[in-house]
Symmetry: C2
Subunit: 270 residues, 2 copies
């Protein structure tokens, strides 16, 4: 089973297109987690146990761990998911990208060291720099296309032969780069028009869509623009809106409630 | 003193535009280093001691450490340079890039946790995503422009309003992004024509040039194309050609010899 099959299985099993971003910041953690030896791991485990039947994937963002030297907690979080919820894939959000020989090392970091099922990468260096990731046939490679930040269009929106740059990325990702059929693309929920254009170009390639919730993307528009012909093909990520839904002792239950509501809202518009 | 001043001081003091890339791979390390508890640190310390009077910067590439969980050795390597050779700046080669709130964490990773003097970043997400790095006024932010890999031009060379995409990156980097005058750009030694075009656009912004040595860039052409009006403004990186110049007990002396020759060859063409 490759990554996309694993993802689709989890989407069916949990009737969910929701991905939860595990992006803990020490200053925002509930007091009872902060007191632990491994505060991020304690926090993540509680969130995972509370939401594993509601999601199609987890997406830890590595910078949150790397900023404070918490690599061991990231590793333990991913192991915990694999061991206890083996049907739920893990997307390591790392946005890596480098020339070939170094990209090999980044691929080992994501797929060897952390045992992620998929990793996010940056396309700026071109297809040959993505090859060291793409050659892992069973893993997913999630390529940035149109990012959710306000200035995402500054470069991604520049016109190349009458079409925006990000569409060129989408075309390459759907054709010459995708020999192993293991590519996904990132398109921010904050850009529904662009999301629709990407969907038109890439057929049934799954799209990872961050930016609902804290960043303000509209759910109904995202689903109208982004669903594929099977009314699937989306992985809709929320991080802060779920993991910080509560702040006290009931934080995990609050996260479950937020995840349930968002999953159901997605399905309502689906 | 900001990063660019620190860099220029090291360039003058050691009469050198040479940067050594500290990119250790366990399988290529001399046997006597491999036997140590901290093989990368042992290797790096010997290399640093052997070359610190010949270089203008060191550039550890973080993937080589992250692939095998050697963050502590990367940290210790950078500390070792700061403590023993405080005039030599450290560029953390990480090619980071993410939306604002996550980019903040990556900036903390590079400048807080690792205490790097500069970090390499990827421009694909646009200027607002670089802001969390750029706001560290005393630190250097080294933005990918035209990368050294064979397929570097696949996206970077696409035409936007009659000029290549990478030149648009160079223009933005030289103007609206560079409010704190702490930007540098990466242009591969394998593309001397492109290097000349970038130099024309960016004035005296320093250029980090990887790709001489193992990747095949020609030194005379690089200098002709890349020097600024003061016959400076280049940081020419070599990794494998120097750190693996020898393989036995005399590896550090062999690295010194290779660094000396490359520094002098650069100065000959300067």
């Amino acid at each position: 089973m490759n990554f996309i099959q694993k993802l689709e299985w989890a989407q069916k099993k949990n009737n969910s297109l929701l991905c939860v971003g595990l992006d803990p910041s020490l200053e925002r953690l509930p007091e009872l987690c902060r007191r632990q030896v491994q505060p991020f791991l304690t926090f993540n485990q509680a969130l995972i146990d509370a939401t594993a039947d509601l999601v199609c994937a987890y997406k830890p963002q590595i910078a949150h761990y790397a900023a404070c030297g918490a690599e061991a907690e990231l590793l333990a979080t991913i192991s915990y998911i694999h061991k206890n919820y083996p049907d739920i894939p893990v997307i390591l959000d790392a946005k890596r990208g480098d020339v070939g020989s170094t990209a090999e090392k980044y691929a080992i970091e994501a797929f060897g060291r952390y045992q992620a099922d998929a990793v996010t990468v940056n396309p700026y260096l071109g297809g040959d720099a993505l090859e060291p990731f793409l050659k892992y046939e069973k893993k997913g490679v999630v390529i940035l296309c149109r990012t959710s930040n306000p200035g995402g269009g500054e470069l991604q929106g520049l016109e190349v032969d009458g079409e925006p740059f990000y569409l060129r990325v989408a075309e390459l990702a759907a054709t010459s780069w995708n020999k192993n059929h293991n590519i996904l693309l990132v398109v921010g929920a904050t850009w529904p028009v662009e999301l629709a254009r990407v969907r038109e170009v890439v057929g049934e390639i799954p799209l990872l869509v961050p930016g609902v919730g804290a960043q303000g993307g509209d759910l109904a528009e995202v689903l109208r623009a982004g669903l594929d012909s099977r009314r699937a093909g989306l992985v809709i990520n929320s991080s802060r809106g779920i993991i910080y839904a509560g702040s006290g002792e009931g934080f995990a239950e609050a996260a479950r409630q937020a995840a349930l509501e968002l999953r159901d809202a997605i399905n309502y518009h689906r």
